[in-house]
Symmetry: C2
Subunit: 396 residues, 2 copies
Amino acid sequence: MISEKMKGFVAGSSAIRAMFEEGKRMAAEFGADHVYDFSLGNPNVPAPQAVKDAILDITENEDPVMLHGYMNNSGYEDVRQTIAEHLNKNFHTSFSAKNILMTVGAAGGLNVILKTLLNPGDEVVTISPYFGEYRSYVGNFDGVLVESPADPETFYPDFADLKKKITAKTKAMIINSPNNPTGVIYPESVIVELAQLLSEKESECGHPIYLISDEPYREIAFDGETVPWITGYYADSIVGSSFSKSLSLPGERIGYLVLPDSLDGAEDILAAANVANRILGFVNAPSLMQRVVARCIDVRSDVDFYLKNRDDLYLALIEDGYTVVHPDGAFYMWVKSPEEDERAFVDRLKKDEHILAVQGRSFGCKGWVRIAYCVAHETIEGALPGFQRVAEAYGL
Amino acid sequence: MISEKMKGFVAGSSAIRAMFEEGKRMAAEFGADHVYDFSLGNPNVPAPQAVKDAILDITENEDPVMLHGYMNNSGYEDVRQTIAEHLNKNFHTSFSAKNILMTVGAAGGLNVILKTLLNPGDEVVTISPYFGEYRSYVGNFDGVLVESPADPETFYPDFADLKKKITAKTKAMIINSPNNPTGVIYPESVIVELAQLLSEKESECGHPIYLISDEPYREIAFDGETVPWITGYYADSIVGSSFSKSLSLPGERIGYLVLPDSLDGAEDILAAANVANRILGFVNAPSLMQRVVARCIDVRSDVDFYLKNRDDLYLALIEDGYTVVHPDGAFYMWVKSPEEDERAFVDRLKKDEHILAVQGRSFGCKGWVRIAYCVAHETIEGALPGFQRVAEAYGL
């Protein structure tokens, strides 16, 4: 009774859903304290006190008709202006309210911009491994996701491969830095090279190739690393942001798109994205939360919590003999499977040690697994002996 | 640079957007007090005090990690159970949490169910006039919206026409009662006849035809009218609800789908709708608001406010000589244009009297206009002399 397309999407969803259900089942059987669930990217740092204060103050003092009412589909003008000025201050840009479109999280924003841009058959290039939802988002609009495998040492783009994958059919490229699932941040040198390649390809193809930077993890960067702001490097750049991680508000569905004036066809894109936000059924980003994030624009969740998790887990896994990509940001660790089929490794972790990780093929990259370390520190402490035993069993 | 499909959507959006911009321009030129804007269905009754109390109490007392975090894509289990029990109490149904999917407003819910059901080319029948967004929502999934004109006297379905429009290609039908734009509520006799017709057509076609009831205005019903609950009449019924109007929370984007066990293919539909909610980029309905509406499930905005507006406007327009459909519910009035082309009538109201109404063709029905009377009572008082002068000018 369901559509053919949805049958594919449902089948594709089953691996992660099965893991989620398995985790619940195991917690019931063995006790939640004896299951180490690293499967989901759900921040476990509470929203900062400033968020709570803002919700209370705004609810107490603002006019409820305005506060909970419809506004322009792109969001409250003053909220958009606040975000534009925040970006201008941090990145020396010159955005105004019209360049900001408030969205139902970064996921909503990606769907809005892909709806705006894609004709059926248009190709969207991304670097694998990648957040598996990109496949669905591109598929929603009958686009074709083209994978360009990352350099297996650095997990930066492999420019030799990328050069071949970007063709006249390419309408857009999606990058994600800090990366889910690898934790890698692309340094400025990578962004410069990418911008140069895309500019060359634009000239070759004679049409724009939009670079969509999906940045929900921008604020979770360690060791003084900074995430280059792409609109300064490439004119046809679009940024998708979210407060899900920076303010620990994933369930509230609040984010924004940045649509610079430098975009080829900026005026049409701005108008169409506004309409896309409406007709996709988002209508507008949740109104109270728009006002809350504007108040908390300079506030951040406690990143040190993730840093401690990263350090303790990374050092232990390296010590055990695992091959691990050192995460610059986000809250994911990308671990090489000690045997070729990473599903067997995932299975062993689960069965022998009650440790839940996600198979790399869910991110378009076999042979690796993702560990989401946005968990209580006790979960990490509890899991370390298990990781060690598995490493020993593999003879690492 | 934007997609071909979006070009059509943007063009189709321009009439209402132009009216909105015109209203802002006129308010600036003539003063907001001298412009009578009946163009938008934005509730102007504040959310009830109970909503404010719930936001404050929940924010103050619930664990922020849980309150603002991800949950199952279908929503918090306890919130869904509360809604199920509320429906069971009111409509003698036997729903449980699994039959309720929390959505980003009714618009989000309609997109989720249409994504779940439609293959390209599938037909979705609706009664014209209808909420113009249905065209976009069905088009999002390459479905075809088929209009069946309402009986021009009652604005109930014209069953003779409907019989012809429902064919083997029909996958679903959307109804909307209380209706936007007519204000009509379908009485039980209409629902019974509709259920019978659809059952016959299902047997004929050999496949299910899903009846999607879009019910954002259910709680705005006047004169003791009740809105029949369709799942009791037809097994393949799906209900889309929203708190936008009942609790005056349109900007918060909170609603739900009811997916009964009686649906042909219920299990697949429930699973696929959950996935559709995620991959369309909604992910989940805003989390704080889920918890707020569960607390306020028996609370309603002050409908008497709309009733007074309806009575004063309706009586005056009838007195002026206009032909008006008597609204049973919602906050729209459907007025016959005194000249064939309703755009000229809309134009005259705007130019001569600064009264903003929406052309019927935006709802798939020429020759009529929609007046959204969810406005301050002073707006109605201020507009009445203008309506009278225009009636006189037409010689009504």
